[in-house]
């Protein structure tokens, strides 16, 4: 059963097929956790948003990306990849001005958890309120 699950989630990851896609804008971060290096990024390339999670050894990685209308919260797209590997990436298309993307990056290992969260907004140089959050930002 677990083997089958692994197969499916790997298919999901492969389905995204963006491993070789250059990311025009990405903010990568890393911290030491659980004896290894945990890294994550949320990047944008045109309308594509890519969430990447890595760990220095194979571990269960759960990575989610979600895009929605910034002003109304209306749903645009989402995706999750859940696999045991050293890297988990997921891409969704639909980011545009006035929309926001959210990334969640999680490692689940030896009963401990490490997670990071990001949001990403797109706007043509004007002040915008990222209404989903409890504060305003200016672009």
């Amino acid at each position: 059963m677990i083997q089958k699950l692994k197969k499916v989630v790997i298919c999901l990851a492969a389905g995204a097929a963006f491993m070789a896609t250059p990311i025009a804008s990405a903010s990568a971060n890393s911290v030491t956790w659980n004896g290894g290096i945990f890294g994550w990024s949320l990047g944008v390339n045109g309308a594509n948003v890519t969430a990447t999670t890595q760990f220095s050894r194979s571990i269960r990685l759960v990575t989610t990306v979600q895009i929605q209308n910034n002003a109304t919260g209306a749903f645009i797209a989402q995706g999750t990849v859940d696999s045991t590997n050293t890297i988990a990436q997921i891409m969704r298309t639909g980011l545009a001005t006035g929309r926001a993307a959210f990334g969640a990056h999680e490692a689940r290992g030896d009963n401990s958890n490490r997670s990071s969260y990001f949001s990403l907004a797109l706007k043509n140089g004007k002040a915008v309120e990222l209404a989903l959050l409890s504060f305003s930002i200016f672009l």
Partner: protein, 332 residues
């Protein structure tokens, strides 16, 4: 809900949010905001991916534990909770020298600076149905539990209230337990219809057949009871006479017994005036439509509502934990 570290989150968050800007190829500007990062887990010397086992011998279980903020330059907020055998547990946190760090509650909220670490004991007596054998223990975290949408104009929680969880541990029950918790059993499953599948395909855009995806990623959604199963819409629910009617749909999943608890403002609520959780045996390719009434006696003007599902019994290694999106619940 006991607030572990008091603070005005929104002010701290505003002051401390970490922002980066970059111009992308079409000339637009992206702005990235880090919402939080944290780690949590037991302080145990175990091998990677080793199944952790605890024993319940009739006395409180005490698990040495840690939490740590890991976002540079900001305060990360998350709510920590534990489920045993699919049911939320009331836990107490004690410092390593034995004083109470946080009173008994279903959720303990942490607000942590970068590399701020706290070590303590998680103390609890498992509240599960009378049984001996092994049951699953899962610890979870909810990102920014104090976040609420500002109004019904934009009721989305965005990336907030996202669920993270540990892989399951095992509690070996060496003595039977008693529990006053009552189940609401849902046995009626129907075939997932084409309309729902179309909506999911639009939402998930998977190259794997959506029914196959649902086998391993069961989907939960809270809807208005009169809703015609539109799962991609924004939901605002309104209470009436200290209660609210809701429709929960559960799609797909492994063929295992699951328990679902509803949380209003992160506290479990009663179902139909008598039950504490929904019990449902999932089935591949089928869905449960659960129309119930929740008791919501103490409400603010704006409130959060979500459901968490965990596998019961000894099947927690097959399918572990899932959460619906949070929805906005307003007081009439």
């Amino acid at each position: 809900m006991k607030v572990f570290i008091l603070g005005m989150l929104s002010l701290v968050f505003l002051a401390g949010c970490q922002v980066s800007e970059e111009v992308v190829e079409d000339g637009a500007v992206t702005q990235e905001v880090e919402l939080g990062a944290y780690a949590f887990g037991p302080l145990l010397d175990v091998e990677m991916n080793e199944l952790i086992r605890f024993e319940f011998i009739g006395e409180e279980i005490r698990i040495p534990y840690h939490v740590e903020g890991q976002a540079r330059g900001i305060v990360s907020e998350f709510g920590w909770f534990a489920l045993v055998d699919g049911l939320p547990q009331s836990t107490r946190l004690e410092t390593l020298d034995g004083s109470v760090l946080s009173e008994e509650s279903f959720m303990h909220i942490f607000q942590l600076e970068f590399m701020e670490r706290k070590e303590f004991y998680v103390v609890f007596t498992p509240e599960v149905e009378n049984k001996e054998g092994s049951v699953g223990f899962i610890a979870g975290g909810i990102l920014s539990p104090t976040f609420l949408p500002k109004s019904t104009d934009n009721p989305s929680f965005g990336g907030m209230h996202h669920l993270t969880a540990t892989i399951p541990a095992e509690i070996k029950m060496l003595t039977s337990t008693s529990s006053s918790l009552v189940a609401y059993r849902q046995d009626n499953l129907v075939e997932i219809n084409e309309d729902i599948l179309s909506q999911l395909e639009e939402r998930l855009i998977s190259e794997v057949a959506i029914l196959e995806v649902l086998n391993y990623f069961p989907f939960l959604a809270i809807l208005p009871i009169e809703d015609d199963l539109q799962i991609n819409r924004q939901v605002v629910l309104e209470s009436s006479n200290n209660s609210v009617d809701v429709r929960l749909i559960v799609l797909g999943g492994q063929e295992v017994l699951n328990r679902i608890t509803f949380f209003v403002n992160h506290q479990p609520v009663t179902i139909n005036g008598v039950a504490d959780y929904v019990e449902i045996f999932l089935n591949s390719g089928r869905m449960g439509i659960i129309d119930i009434n929740l008791d919501v006696e103490i409400l603010n003007e704006l409130n959060s509502l979500y459901a968490i599902m965990m596998t019961a019994g000894e099947d927690y290694l097959i399918q572990d934990i899932f959460k619906s999106s949070s929805v906005l619940l307003i007081q009439n």
